[in-house]
Symmetry: C2
Subunit: 252 residues, 2 copies
């Protein structure tokens, strides 16, 4: 009897520990802890473009963002946006003049820098241009599978897909091209990197300019997908924009 | 001994029930349940304008949204946006020509319809124009305290505050005016309701038109705050927009 009671007691203790020991976790009444709920507010404010020009993830949110990126919620958030994109896509009246276009950003839209940011405390460390360049030159960013699925569908459907990135044309063109290729991004119309002419310009201005040029060439931009608000603001935005989640960094 | 064991056993049972019985709750390992995490993705997608034109909250998210609105996270999300607004506000170089303007939406920006939506399953029921009109005519919407604080600060600082609402001018002007007054919204420059000329127009077009007119009068719109993306898209948006959370309904 004593033994049976000890088993029950130990089970109870383990559960209590599991529930109450986590600083960034959740509590048994279904609410989340103060730190976690604050970081959730911060993430929401970032995704809805209310917090702008931020340089680092608040340090208190390091493990919250780590959990978010690695434990499923990022993937679920991404999947829901992709569902919306597919629903929209299916209703587009495609012409057969070859001028139906779609724009995708590259970093953390087509291919992921999650491994890199893992080493940067998921964005709690400030932007490190040298470190990022070295990472990008390795050409080892994995595809974001849901977006690769979208890309493939777009190409198969007959869209001209333009990959527009703020990466430096001079130094990163070949590595980026190789990386996209080794991850299955094959069949796009053009990969557009930032040339000398756009150096120092904000991403909003640079990408607006590129989209304006594409429209000038006669393309109809049906969709525009990026993980940064700077991909989705400015001019010639396209018929519809979609914001993919990214709570790790902000590109002005 | 048997009695003591029963006490422990019952405690264990109660905890198990508390943890695992909630469809929308959280689990002991710190993750949230499938339903809850899906509704979190949905809410994020709504707030980042990825889900558009939705007519009702997904029924599976009823209690999730109820919890969100009533148990603190909505207030925390709102407070974080308000902090951003105040930080922005403090850096505005005010002139003394009396033309510095700020725009606030009314419903679920200045005053809350939470009590009403409580009776509409927090948005799982479809929009009920007759019911909403009856509710609005009662003039009993409580102020959203954080936004009343912003309003008061704006008026004190010398901004001309324009309250711009899609509510019908003919039938709801007096009730809205009274409601705002009884909740402390005193000292605004103008309350602008939807007149006959704008009936049937989308909120984006109607509100763009109003803002254009204000700019035509010479006002500089520094800030524009609303709970709907239709408050914050279109023309003459103002120098900066802020999206307040609202997962209960979508105004096209």
């Amino acid at each position: 009897m004593l033994r049976a009671m000890r088993v029950v007691w130990e089970a109870l203790l383990i559960m209590l520990l599991a529930i109450f020991s986590k600083g960034t976790g959740t509590k048994s009444d279904g609410t989340i802890s103060i730190s976690s709920s604050h970081c959730l507010s911060w993430r929401l404010a970032v995704e809805s473009n209310n917090v702008r020009g931020w340089r680092t993830v608040p340090t208190q949110c390091w493990h919250y963002i780590e959990n978010y990126m690695l434990r499923g919620q990022y993937d679920r958030d991404l999947d829901l946006v992709l569902q919306q994109i597919f629903a929209y896509l299916n209703d587009i009246p495609l012409s057969n003049d070859g001028m139906d276009a779609w724009i995708l950003d590259v970093d953390d839209t087509c291919i992921s820098n999650l491994f890199y940011y893992n080493g940067k405390r998921f964005g709690c460390d400030p932007y490190d241009p040298v470190g990022f360049k070295a990472w990008a030159l390795r050409g080892g960013c994995p595809a974001i599978p849901a977006v690769l699925g979208l890309f493939t569908k777009l190409v198969e459907t007959g869209f001209k897909v333009f990959l527009v990135t703020g990466r430096d044309d001079e130094t990163l063109a070949q590595a980026t091209r190789d990386n996209l290729h080794n991850q299955g991004f094959i069949g796009y119309e053009r990969l557009i990197l930032r040339t000398q002419a756009y150096k120092g310009q904000s991403a909003v201005l640079y990408k607006s300019e590129i989209r304006k040029q594409l429209e000038g060439e006669g393309y109809r931009i049906w969709g525009n997908v990026g993980d940064q608000w700077s991909d989705l603001l400015g001019d010639s935005l396209g018929n519809r924009t979609f914001k993919l989640p990214n709570p790790m960094y902000f590109v002005p």
